[in-house]
Subunit: 444 residues, 2 copies
């Protein structure tokens, strides 16, 4: 695409420039009460205090959002587009939930037109919720992956996705083979990886539904295409972990199954990790892999409580992003996801601050996806995907988050308090607008 | 108030006529695809299939809600009106949360005008969320209780409330005395109990903030006014339970503190009960007391997972209603509360069906408040408080809950599925309208 535009956005701004799990919040978070973001050709050209910058940009068009907070676009590090319509399916934990609801639904995605229709709804719903980048499971059918990438390309989105690989322990109508999954994935990588803003992830569903041969082929693809991603599930549910141990008796734990196939590296993102052992956290840390923490899903399926403080330890730090995991997750909203993450922390007698949650949703997610140089905050040169937040989008939020008295300097603590309430109570209504590469992509 | 009206409502209807925790759902739930509810003088005069009833009511005005599901008004069995503005306060578990956020906020309710202003916002927010009856903590200041009842009376609501009694372990500005709390409560009972639809609950905050003398005075009030309620907190948090054990060394557990003061009876409602022992469940069952299950609060404060299956056992059944527990609860919505209740069940490897949740929110809540003869379903003679639900109130809910094909008979399982999705994903937007005694009280 061609950009030859320069324009400005004036509002309050908040972004993270370092990780508040390790660095004091005052040193991580940039808050501009009255800021100016200048976007040229889709990227951040300048960013700072409005009064300091305005004289340099007297001749550009400036969109002003008074009483709004602009943050970097949300990043969803784990979601399934074919499960959009089966969100909130009743009464099962992981393995039964897959066989009862998921597999029959995913079958429909053999139909290219149907896949395209749902992909469009899915992407629009992400934008409605302020999510600008996601790491996405498609289905086993390569035509569904094509459909997804086409719709993402049409919207100029930075999206990472891949065809699901699964060659056992699933209905026959959903199975590929070790060989066909290798060939189809290879074709899709060649077709879509790095096309516009799109990136490819080699996507075996999880150890239970892949033979060792298929996992090895996934590893072979990663070796052949060293800058594609690996995206799969890991240690979500107790029964799942037991089943993996039975299927791979030679492996030393669940992560080791992937490790033996060459799937554990810097560009590998593992969804869930609820049941991980300390040794597995250490291995993920060593390999610089990432975990997608999916709290609404973990609560909805009763999978358990992710040990975020283990991933965010000083000893074995592991990159973490937030994932909605729709359709086991119950909302497309990263705000709702952050609220569930807070509940998980509280149930473990841990704390999760608003700034820590915002970090996970933006720069932390970007780093988990090895996109920290392109996304996650308003550093000059980054891609200008951002969200205009309304902290007062319902009557009760308006009561709770009173407008700041502009005559009194307000602090990072003030904005932390209001952002926290917005995470706990907010939803799609809190997203006034979503911008992609500086262009309006959704307006409430 | 005077009613001399008769009018009808046509829509789909769903109500519970028995308890689906004990009786097969097909025998509990009444679903009318095309039903007619006839209301006269605020009460249900007739209810049944539209085609069967319509010829009897040819001359009345009928409001038709096509593609809407009407259910009985939601009942919130535990909520604090003075905490409306401090919802979503960050980072503490129960005892620190009280001292850091709650007590300073409740201090403002010494101001009668302020109390009235917040009471109005609070009640409108309940109606916006489809809640038509609630059991409500006011503050220690009797003028805040007056303010609350006045606003509830103005809206013709069936509300139960009481002045908080607390004479120790709280800031001095929030303390009454054993004697003053007795006298003030007595005056309030005489003024408000059974006035229009209002009812009074004797309301010691919890064992930690009341002396034995104050609890005894609460018991004395219950003896003097046998049809008022008792409303307090019980066994929410581990540290709270430990603290109660230290403060009342002579008691055999937390519930026993209340029992010794004569506070454990059929009209007693205890909020939380997360940490209850089996013996305490048995005692509550024997006494016919009720528990308000407040899952969004229990998750937000990290209090723990309520053992609903213990309360709903055959051996020691205990009445249970849902409570939002705003401001520790994070939403006024009973739908959101039901969603959290489902998560709690899943984390305990239990199930909670949509119909069970609807029962807790309607007839179960009514029975917990000893109002099963007046509220909770569409039985003839009951008060006509009801909610018009939109099962397709967001784009993703519209995708998930497709309109039924009217050419194919749809089943209780179909409506269960859509109601479940509405509970998991729905919020105030799912409430198209709320009616009080057959009169429109809120319209989306």
């Amino acid at each position: 695409m061609q950009y030859q535009t320069i324009r400005g956005f004036r509002a309050s701004f908040l972004d993270a420039i370092a990780d508040p799990f390790y660095v004091p919040e005052a040193d991580c978070m940039r808050y501009l009460n009255d800021g100016l973001l200048v976007v040229e050709d889709g990227k951040v050209k300048d960013f700072g205090d409005y009064n300091e910058l305005k004289n340099r940009y007297t001749d550009i068009s400036i969109t002003h959002y008074p009483d709004r907070l602009i943050v970097s676009g949300f990043i969803d590090t784990h979601i399934h587009f074919p499960q959009t319509e089966m969100i909130a399916s009743y009464g099962e934990q992981l393995l039964e939930w897959l066989s009862t609801y998921t597999f029959p639904t995913e079958r429909k995605f053999a139909d290219r037109n149907y896949a395209q229709e749902i992909a469009a709804i899915f992407l629009d719903e992400l934008l409605r919720n302020g999510t600008t980048t996601a790491l996405v499971f498609t289905s086993v059918f390569p035509q569904s992956t094509d459909a997804f990438f086409e719709e993402a390309q049409r919207r100029n989105l930075r999206m990472i996705a891949g065809k699901v690989m699964m060659d056992r322990n699933a209905p026959e109508f959903l199975q590929d083979t070790a060989e066909s999954s290798y060939l189809e994935t290879k074709q899709l990588i060649e077709k879509w990886h790095k096309r516009d803003r799109l990136l490819y992830a080699v996507t075996p569903r999880f150890a239970i539904t892949s033979t060792s041969e298929q996992l090895s082929n996934a590893g072979k693809l990663l070796a052949e295409f060293p800058d594609v991603y690996l995206h799969t599930h890991l240690s979500e549910n107790v029964k799942e972990v037991e089943s993996v141990a039975e299927l791979f008796p030679e492996s030393e734990g669940y992560l080791d199954v992937y490790d033996r196939a060459g799937l554990v590296g810097e560009r590998s993102i593992f969804a869930h990790g609820v049941q991980l052992t300390d040794r597995e956290f250490a291995r993920l840390s060593e390999a610089k892999s990432a975990i997608a923490f999916c709290p609404t899903s973990n609560l909805f399926l009763g999978s358990g409580l992710f040990k975020l403080e283990k991933a965010k330890s000083s000893e074995t730090p592991v990159k973490v992003g937030l994932g909605t995991d729709v359709g086991a997750g119950t909302s497309f909203s990263i705000l709702r996801t952050a609220s569930a993450a807070y509940q998980v922390a509280q149930l473990r007698s841990q704390k999760l601050s608003a700034f820590q949650a915002l970090f996970l949703a933006t720069l932390g997610g970007a780093r988990a996806l090895c996109l920290g140089d392109k996304l996650g905050n308003f550093e000059i040169g980054k891609e200008a995907d951002f969200v205009v937040l309304d902290l007062r989008s319902t009557p009760i939020m308006a009561l709770r988050n009173k407008p700041f008295d502009q005559t009194i300097p307000h602090t990072l603590a003030d904005i932390s308090d209001q952002l926290f309430a917005t995470m706990i109570m907010g939803d799609d209504r809190a997203i006034s607008a979503t911008y992609i590469m500086g262009e309006l992509a959704h307006k409430a």
